[in-house]
């Protein structure tokens, strides 16, 4: 058997995220163009694998078997793998986990991971019907749970009650992420800024959430190249960014199976993180920059706790103390995250991993000084699944 190879993230790009006047396949082409601009030496013939992460392609774009459509539009001819993958909001980071395995085993040399969603439909209210399908449809959705704010609002209320977290602390997450969003012109809310007062005075979506506690639904696409270290050296002179460890864990699909003592404890994320840190042979203290799934402000607070960046219950104080700022203990969502860059479900994971790639290569817009190790995290479904990918400037072995 061939010796195990190292899998690296080479670079990538995204389309403009937002409410787009564009087809799903248009946005994937835009992301490929951005990826090509980022890795000028990359040619279509370099790519021997394709993984397309999308949830809505079938329902919203009449494109169920999406991978061959992408092959045709991008001029690819993959021979190792050519699939569509769906884990909802974790789609493209799940694809990166699969790509890592294929590259390390020698089955593929350079895999294009692209994530994309066209969320908005000709009649916007139709989107709310698709949202019923992203939960456990016959059970939680039939209770009226479509878009996720009510579920996460209850999580926030429970965290406030048990740990004393405040609306001001949640607003600090949003304001910090708006600061990071500055300069990211492709973000959904590019060019906007936010103050604590502005966040607290916004209209209520689901108590205790105001508008800025919730990420938008976005149209958009992202694309990254996962390659062997050897192939990456042919494609770029930039330092390699190794995929050191991954973890993915699900324990239930609907509310009755919730694993935590209360909604404020995400024990299933703790499990995914422990697996990823073990595989990466790192601890939370080693991580210099993180992209965590900030679908809601409370999500980022709980994730920082369960990922081990602060003590359980102290996430509110932690984010308000400046720990997630660019010069803080763990700069988090340094490209604006889901709250500002936007959230086209399948596209978000690769967008996060690309930001970690740029941070570790020293070329991020908001650069963390001497960043050597980075982490990307997604949750998906009704917080039923967690995905963690850890990167480093050095390989595991």
């Amino acid at each position: 058997m061939a010796e195990k190879k190292n899998a690296v993230i080479v670079g990538g790009g995204t389309s403009k995220f937002g409410v787009r006047q564009a087809h799903l396949l248009d946005m994937i082409q835009e992301a490929m163009k951005a990826c090509s601009d980022d890795i000028p030496a990359l040619k279509p013939t370099d790519i021997d694998g394709l993984i397309v992460a999308t949830t809505m392609a079938g329902r919203h774009s009449s494109a169920l078997n999406t991978a061959p459509l992408v092959v045709h539009r991008l001029g690819l001819s993959p021979t190792a793998i050519c699939i569509r993958l769906d884990t909802l909001c974790a789609g493209s980071n799940s694809a990166i986990i699969v790509a890592k395995g294929l590259v390390e085993s020698g089955m593929a040399e350079a895999i294009l991971v692209t994530g994309a969603e066209k969320v908005y439909m000709p009649q916007r209210w139709e989107t709310n019907y698709t949202q019923l399908m992203v939960n456990d449809h016959d059970w939680d959705s039939a209770m009226g749970l479509g878009v996720p704010p009510p579920f996460f609002a209850m999580i926030a209320k429970m965290h406030m009650k048990r740990y004393g977290t405040t609306k001001e602390q949640m607003a600090a997450v949003s304001v910090t992420n708006y600061t990071y969003g500055e300069g990211h012109t492709k973000g959904h809310f590019a060019g906007r800024s936010l103050t604590i007062e502005g966040a607290l005075e916004a209209r209520i979506i689901a108590d205790p959430f105001g508008l800025y506690d919730c990420c938008p639904l976005s149209d958009g696409a992202s694309a990254v190249i996962i390659a062997s270290e050897e192939k990456a050296k042919e494609l770029t002179d930039r330092p390699p960014v190794y995929i050191r460890g991954t973890g993915q864990h699900a324990s239930h699909s609907m509310s009755a199976g919730w694993p935590g003592e209360t909604l404020a404890e995400w024990t299933h994320l703790k499990v995914a993180a422990e697996v990823a840190f073990k595989n990466a042979r790192l601890t939370p203290k080693d991580i210099d920059v993180a992209q965590t799934h900030d679908c809601f402000t409370i999500s980022e607070i709980i994730e920082l706790e369960e990922l081990g960046f602060c003590q359980k219950g102290e996430g509110g104080d932690f984010v308000a103390s400046g720990a997630i700022d660019i010069d803080g203990e763990i700069p988090t969502n340094t490209d604006g995250g889901l709250l500002v860059y936007g959230h086209p479900f399948g596209a978000s994971g690769a967008r996060q991993s690309l930001e970690i790639c740029k941070q570790l290569q020293g070329r991020a817009i908001h650069q963390v000084k001497d960043a050597a190790f980075g982490l990307a995290h997604n949750l998906s479904g009704t917080c039923s699944q967690h995905t963690v990918v850890i990167y480093g400037k050095e390989p595991v072995d």
């Binding site: 016959d138 939680d140 209770m143 749970l145 479509g146 609002a153 209850m154 009650k161 689901a206 009755a256």
Partner: protein, 170 residues
């Protein structure tokens, strides 16, 4: 009934009753489409039930065809408690799926020490905004929801449906 006009419409309320299964917010409850249809039959009789494993004794929710603990297919139907307490709740102002009222009240329920179903996300009906408090007791309630047609050979059968939620104990 939870929503006065809901059961009068056959099909998808937002489409004036035209039925499109992809936009259906309720389960396919009839025997033609699933093997846990006794759950819905029991709902009609006012019972909140699920499947219990006859081999290992595990009570699963939602009900299933095999036991998720030991994979035995020897299951029996048992009743679940119909009363619970509100742990926390939210009154959602924006984004309720079409066909559901807005604001919509959702709660996280606790069924008490030793109950086979520990907690559940549930809609609270027959309750006005501002009326609910944490710790309040709520009880199981069944109501009619829109029917749907299914084609069986050349005949069209109308499948009547029910669903459940919880309401304050007054």
């Amino acid at each position: 009934m939870a929503d006065e006009n809901m059961a009068e419409i056959v099909g998808t309320p937002a489409l004036d009753g035209t039925y499109i299964s992809e936009m259906d917010m309720w389960p396919f409850e009839c025997q033609e489409f699933n093997r846990i249809y006794p759950f819905y039959e029991n709902l009609r009789a006012g019972k909140f039930t699920t499947t219990k494993c006859q081999k290992c004794g595990h009570i699963a929710y939602p009900p299933g065809v095999i036991c998720p603990k030991c994979w035995s297919d020897e299951l029996e139907w048992v009743e679940l408690p119909q009363k619970a307490r509100i742990v926390t709740f939210t009154e959602t102002q924006a984004g309720a799926p079409i066909g559901f009222p807005s604001p919509i009240i959702m709660a996280w329920l606790n069924f008490g020490e030793g109950a086979p179903l520990k907690h559940l996300l549930a809609r609270i009906v027959n309750c006005k905004e501002g009326e609910l408090n944490e710790g309040d007791e709520v009880k199981f309630v069944v109501f009619d929801v829109p029917s749907h047609p299914i084609e069986i050979k050349k005949e069209t059968k109308i499948c009547d449906r029910v669903y459940y939620a919880f309401e304050p104990v007054k």
